[in-house]
């Protein structure tokens, strides 16, 4: 079984500062981590490795420094790591990113592609589903748990707003995973030592199977109109009352603000 996990390096903070002129994030001085949903996805892949001997490949697209999370993934137990880095990828929105990743995946063998649900820096939850669409694969999003039930089939627990769905899906397929799915393992000491003895494969745009016009800024239809830090809201009020009283209070407040 070949499992490929798409991971992203993200700034480790909830207080991301933005450059007011460009509207982009200021990454300097902010520690970078493996995106939590992606890390949970990697854990699922590594559990498949433990149980069924799956071969686990991790891929990230980003600057050269993003190899740090690939080393971390290798130290946790991944077998192979690919860093997609090229000036031609720069300025990519989710569509151009998913095109680059899909172009890479086209050149690799896989039974299962795992992505995190969304990255904590962008929160779009678009890249995983877009990859599945580019590759024409069945996809299951918001995965909490996964079980390999027979040759080529997974039984998946998918989280929904009001509960769970249990879905069976045949391989090859793509899933997006929630960070609540598991507690990712620690890197092992031996894994860390070995991670620096393995080579991280560096791939540029020439190595992947995609039209270059679909990459980077050229391939990105999204334009950021404005980025801003959310203003602080006044503290809310909490009423500890029964439901009928709560309804009265809500109606009264809505009337006060001329909403109804």
């Amino acid at each position: 079984m070949n499992v490929i996990v798409c991971i992203k390096q993200v700034p480790d903070t909830t207080e991301i500062k933005l450059n007011p002129e460009t509207g982009t994030m200021i990454r300097d001085g902010v520690p970078s981590i493996m995106n939590p949903d992606d890390k949970a996805g990697l854990e699922i892949a590594l559990e498949l490795k433990d149980k069924y001997g799956a071969n686990v490949t991790v891929i990230t697209m980003g600057p050269a420094q993003a190899d740090k999370i690939l080393r971390e993934a290798l130290a946790m137990g991944a077998d192979r790591a690919i860093l997609l880095t090229d000036r031609k990828f720069a300025g990519a929105d989710t569509l151009a990113t998913s095109n680059a990743l899909a172009g890479t995946l086209r050149t690799l063998d896989f039974d299962l592609i795992i992505a995190g649900r969304q990255a904590i820096d962008g929160d779009t939850a678009q890249v995983g589903p877009q990859i599945a669409e580019h590759l024409g694969l069945p996809q299951v999003t918001y995965v909490e748990d996964l079980e390999y039930i027979e040759s080529k089939t997974f039984r998946i627990k998918k989280s929904t707003e009001d509960g769970y769905q249990i879905i069976e899906v045949d391989t090859p397929c793509l899933i997006t995973v929630l960070s609540s799915a598991n507690t990712p393992r620690y890197m092992s000491v031996g894994g860390i030592v070995n991670a620096f003895r393995k080579e991280i494969e560096i791939w540029g745009a020439d190595k992947i199977d995609v039209d270059e016009l679909k990459l980077g800024l050229k391939g990105s239809p999204t334009r950021v109109f404005k980025s801003f830090t959310k203003g602080a809201k006044a503290a809310g009020q909490i009423y500890d009352v029964d439901a009928s009283k709560a309804v009265d209070i809500i109606i009264e407040k809505l009337k006060e603000k001329f909403i109804i």
């Binding site: 740090k68 080393r71 971390e72 620690y186 890197m187 092992s188 000491v189 894994g191």
Partner: protein, 379 residues
């Protein structure tokens, strides 16, 4: 000369800091209070390769080095010195002498299970009448056929109650003095070997420190470690390495007390302002911080030299002396900064002071370190 961390060291620190914060810190107060050996933490460390960091993979080790090992002991001891010394005694005092001075058969037999943490290791040198004067060994090992027969007792043995393998020093020929001491590998279930009373200690209260008792305990001859009569050398060389572990432990305790103090002085208000705003606080913290960083550099130099196979006896002595005395000073002042709260068990600094004291005593007292350093200076 390069003082930057390598990328491997950075990644290792990321792992060990997270592990210490999530797995070691939550148990620290409880295992101290209950004098309980943290078996569950040892199992978790074993799974991650922390019980065999500086040994080659061919013997089951993690393939790391003494710098990583030193960093691990430091980060673990920042929260729990008990857990730190369990790893240190196991690694430096039991696996290291087998690796450095054992035969190929001994390494193959013992190292994989010790490095994987399936077995825990201990070391027996100290006796009721042989402490700093380790040459005054009274435990004897008399050859008899294919065996040695051990009689005597060892005291204050870290990990004793949970270990499966012990490095034990005994007199094979009293007439030769220190040259009559030999080292042996003793397995837990050997008939005639029992674990005696558990000590009630001031600090590192979870570490299961006990007596080892040998009554006509028969050890196969192939369990002689090093040469016959070479045991004193085995012990001294082992303690040189052990001092890197204990210096790292002391450094961790000091850093842990500093972290607690920095947090506290920013929060605690007296006379209308945070006590961090008083210059007395600032100047004292600056002095302590400088000593902690100096300890760290001394420890790293000793570990580096051990890795590079450069003689490091004096470096390890300096590191242990300075880090241990720094740990005592920092923890003592940490309590002073915390005032009355610091004297209670609501805050961890009183435990840190109790834990720090042993670092000036075991694996060579501070006086012994001064002897080692000055002997080298005045030779």
């Amino acid at each position: 000369m390069n003082f930057s961390l390598t990328r491997e060291q950075e990644l290792f620190l990321q792992m060990i800091k997270e592990f210490a914060e999530k797995e070691v810190k939550p148990l620290a107060a409880e295992i101290d209070e209950d004098e309980r050996f943290p078996e569950e933490t040892v199992r978790k460390m074993a799974k991650l390769g922390i019980m065999g960091i500086p040994f080659p993979t061919e013997y089951g080790g993690a393939g790391g080095d003494n710098i990583l090992y030193s960093m691990a002991i430091e980060e673990i001891s920042r929260f729990c010195a008990t857990t730190g010394v369990i790893v240190s005694a196991h690694t430096s005092l039991c696996i290291a002498p087998i690796y450095e001075q054992g035969t190929e058969e001994q390494k193959r037999k013992y190292m994989p299970k010790l490095c994987s943490g399936e077995w825990l290791g201990a070391f027996g040198l100290t006796e009721p009448n042989a402490g700093t004067d380790a040459s005054a060994q009274q435990t004897t090992a008399i050859p008899d056929g294919d065996e040695y027969v051990l009689n005597g007792s060892k005291i204050f043995i870290t990990n004793a109650a949970y270990a499966q393998v012990y490095i034990v020093m005994a007199m094979t020929d009293k007439s030769l003095g220190t040259k009559g001491i030999s080292a042996f590998i003793v397995e837990r279930d050997t008939p005639g070997f029992t674990i005696g009373k558990k000590e009630k200690k001031l600090g590192i209260r979870g570490s299961a420190t006990c007596e080892l008792i040998f009554e006509n305990c028969r050890i196969p001859k192939e369990n002689l470690l090093g040469k016959l009569g070479g045991g004193f050398g085995v012990a001294m060389k082992t303690l040189d390495g052990g001092r890197i572990g204990i210096a790292s432990q002391a450094l961790g305790i000091a850093q842990g007390a500093m972290d607690e103090t920095v947090k506290y002085v920013k929060e605690r208000k007296q006379f209308g302002k945070a006590i961090a705003q008083f210059q007395n606080t600032q100047f004292q913290l600056a002095d302590l911080e400088t000593k902690i960083e100096a300890s760290r550099l001394l420890v790293r130099v000793a570990a580096y030299k051990k890795d590079e196979k450069i003689p490091y006896t004096v470096d390890a002595a300096r590191a242990k002396l300075f880090a241990a005395e720094t740990a005592m000073e920092v923890t003592n002042k940490a309590i002073q900064f915390h005032g009355g709260y610091g004297y209670t068990r609501e805050y961890p600094v009183e435990r840190m002071l109790r834990d720090a004291k042993i670092t000036e005593i075991y694996e060579g007292t501070s006086e012994v370190q001064r002897m080692v350093i000055s002997a080298n200076l005045l030779k």
